[in-house]
């Protein structure tokens, strides 16, 4: 008797806790397929990449609302079946298998981040499903997959192209001479070093420090001291948001004033300017999409995010979520049905027009390199390169920290 009671006593909170956590983790399924076109896949709606994942979802849903209002795709309404992979790559793969084999969705949508996309690409290939996503950087497009498209892709290897094109226009005697390169030790971070190596050679900049670090970066004091002591006048902080912030705070506190600070993928998320304020200014980076581009659709997205979220410019990943769906939409319309191979073949031979501009795809599923150099000026991500898209003249050299 006593024992039974005892067990119950501790079991119920456990059960309650587990049930509660499940209800919070349950995916967001659509209801009934009917004649609607169901587009399935997973996004990191919770966990490490939740912020980005949620913006992608919002971008996709905006696209769906828009196309359904215009009478749907091939005359049918579209609907998403989005699972939450909790920022876990293995779950992203499982859900990709599930939507194809169990839920039998009509189309697949792209995931995030690159590590998840890279892992889902072979699944899409195996089931012969067209997979339009950011891709998992250059290596993932060199595996011979034929159903995967980076449209537009997010290429670490291209990330600094725009920035370096601009730097090449600076007279040689005014360019920085000594570089400190700190790179987060993961595929995205490492892919960023590719263009640094190529370009620093070309521009005759000496790499004095070249180090990798593991996440989480809890303190950047030693890094900045080293860079400062080695008189490095250009700092490459090839990392994400948390390590980027830690590095910037240390640079300011230690009064380290290189001519240029380049930060990887952390500085283009909205939180950068929101959380760092003035201290986030003058950081260079790159992007393959921006609300400041003049291609059709960008204004409409900006207006929507202004109205709905009070943002002056749509968040990058909101745009990506939308742009990937634009590509898929045009391919389905071009193929005139939901035959995956026909959709693929159409994409291989035709041009799509998205908010990131026009794209045609090569054998790998990639467009011509797209990259725009960016700099944060007065709390805003400005396009500085190439000239034709420039929104502001870059600020160079970086002004000293204001205390």
């Amino acid at each position: 008797m006593m024992k039974v009671k005892r067990t119950n006593g501790f079991l119920w909170p456990v059960i309650v806790a587990i049930i509660c956590s499940f209800t919070l983790m349950v995916p967001v399924p659509g209801f009934g397929a009917g004649k609607t076109i169901v587009i399935g896949g997973s996004l990191p709606l919770t966990g490490a990449y939740a912020e980005t994942g949620q913006w992608i979802e919002k971008g996709m849903l905006f696209w769906a609302a828009e196309i359904n209002a215009k009478g749907g795709l091939l005359g049918r309404n579209v609907e998403f079946k989005i699972y939450d992979d909790q920022s876990d790559v293995s779950k992203a793969v499982t859900f990709a298998e599930k939507v194809i084999t169990v839920d039998k969705v009509d189309l697949l949508f792209g995931g995030y981040p690159g590590t998840a996309a890279r892992a889902v690409m072979p699944v899409a290939e195996k089931h012969k499903f067209v997979y339009v996503s950011m891709g998992g950087h250059m290596k993932s497009f060199e595996q011979g997959y034929t159903y995967s498209f980076g449209a537009p892709p997010l290429m670490g290897e291209w990330w600094y192209e725009g920035f370096f094109h601009w730097l090449a226009t600076v007279p040689a005697d005014k360019r920085p001479q000594r570089a400190a390169v700190y790179t987060i030790n993961n595929p995205v971070g490492l892919s960023l070093t590719d263009s640094i190596e190529r370009w620093t050679k070309k521009l005759n900049i000496q790499i004095v420090i070249n180090e990798k670090y593991n996440a989480p970066l809890t303190d950047a004091t030693a890094m900045i001291v080293k860079a400062k002591q080695s008189k490095c006048d250009i700092l490459f902080a090839n990392g994400f948001f948390p390590d980027g912030v830690t590095t910037m705070k240390a640079a300011k506190a230690l009064d380290y004033n290189p001519k240029i600070i380049v930060q990887g993928v952390g500085s283009v998320v909205p939180a950068w300017v929101k959380e760092l304020g003035k201290d986030g200014d003058y950081v260079f980076s790159g992007t393959s999409l921006s609300g400041q581009l003049k291609y059709p659709g960008n204004d409409k997205l900006n207006a929507y995010t202004k109205k709905t979220y009070n943002l002056n410019e749509y968040p990058l990943y909101f745009g990506f979520g939308y742009a990937w769906m634009q590509t898929l939409e045009q391919a389905v319309k071009g193929a005139k049905n939901l035959d995956q191979t026909k959709i693929r073949d159409w994409l291989k031979t035709n041009e799509v027009n998205t908010i990131a501009g026009p794209m045609t795809f090569d054998k790998r599923g990639l467009p011509e390199p797209i990259n725009f150099g960016t700099q944060i000026i007065n709390g805003k991500v400005e396009l500085i390169s190439p000239k034709r898209v420039q929104t502001k003249e870059p600020v160079y050299p970086k002004p000293a920290w204001k205390k």
């Binding site: 490490a48 700190y182 180090e211 948390p242 760092l276």
Partner: protein
Amino acid sequence: MDAVLIIQSLISGIMMGMVYALLGVGFSLTWGVMHVINISHGAFGLLGAYMAYSLLQYFGVDPIVSAAVSVPLLFLVACGIYQLLIRPITRAQNVVMASMILTFGLAIILENVMAIIWKADPRVLTPTYSSGALILGPFYFQYPHVVGFGLSLAGITAIYLFLKKTYTGMAVRAAWQQPEAARLYGVNLYWISMITFALAVSTAGAGGICLALLNSFEPHSHNLWLINLFLVVIVGGVGNVIGTALAGLIIGVITGLSMAFLPFLWVNLVTFGLLMIFLIFRPHGIFKQEGI
């Protein structure tokens, strides 16, 4: 390798280690006193960080000041959670296991609640002094690190004095060392467990605020914090306050030195290698004595 870099790294490491010590001390206490391994400890720390963030953002209250509000608030919240969730499982046959499962669920709930309230965006605690530095000769100490260090040191000292000098604190230690005798001399174990749990959670909150002064945070950051919690507790000895503080310092020194001498890529390798060595050779931590 020059002296400035070494000393700078060393002191930066120590400052950071102290913050981990404050975050870890409560984790160590609930583990030692109640045999409850509180997986949600870091999540409560994060809750403290978010509260400090909101109070700073909307009311302009400095994190040090707002800690005076949020830490006691967490204490009360923890009392409720103890009554509702933790107390029932202390009657389980395997408290350690049951508590890990339960608090794991609790951590997930907290993470999701924080994601709903504060959104998934990363946050940075930026009080007015956030990017200033204390300059001593060739050395620079970021003010947030100095403040975090000071707050952590004060927190740990307070916990130490509480356990050492007050009747309730002594009862906490007594209940842990010899629960039956403690009951015979008038200690109410439920009451003491509640105090211990609530105290642990509120120090987690204070530690979370300190850590937020150093790094950015997101709703899932507590998972990363948890690893460091295990590290300080295992090195310092379960339930040992002084040990935890020393462990924080040791880990800080080792991290600092390896940052100065080794490639950054090796830093985690060194610290977690240390954890392995401790688990194998000194599973009870640095001290033989099960002190406070």
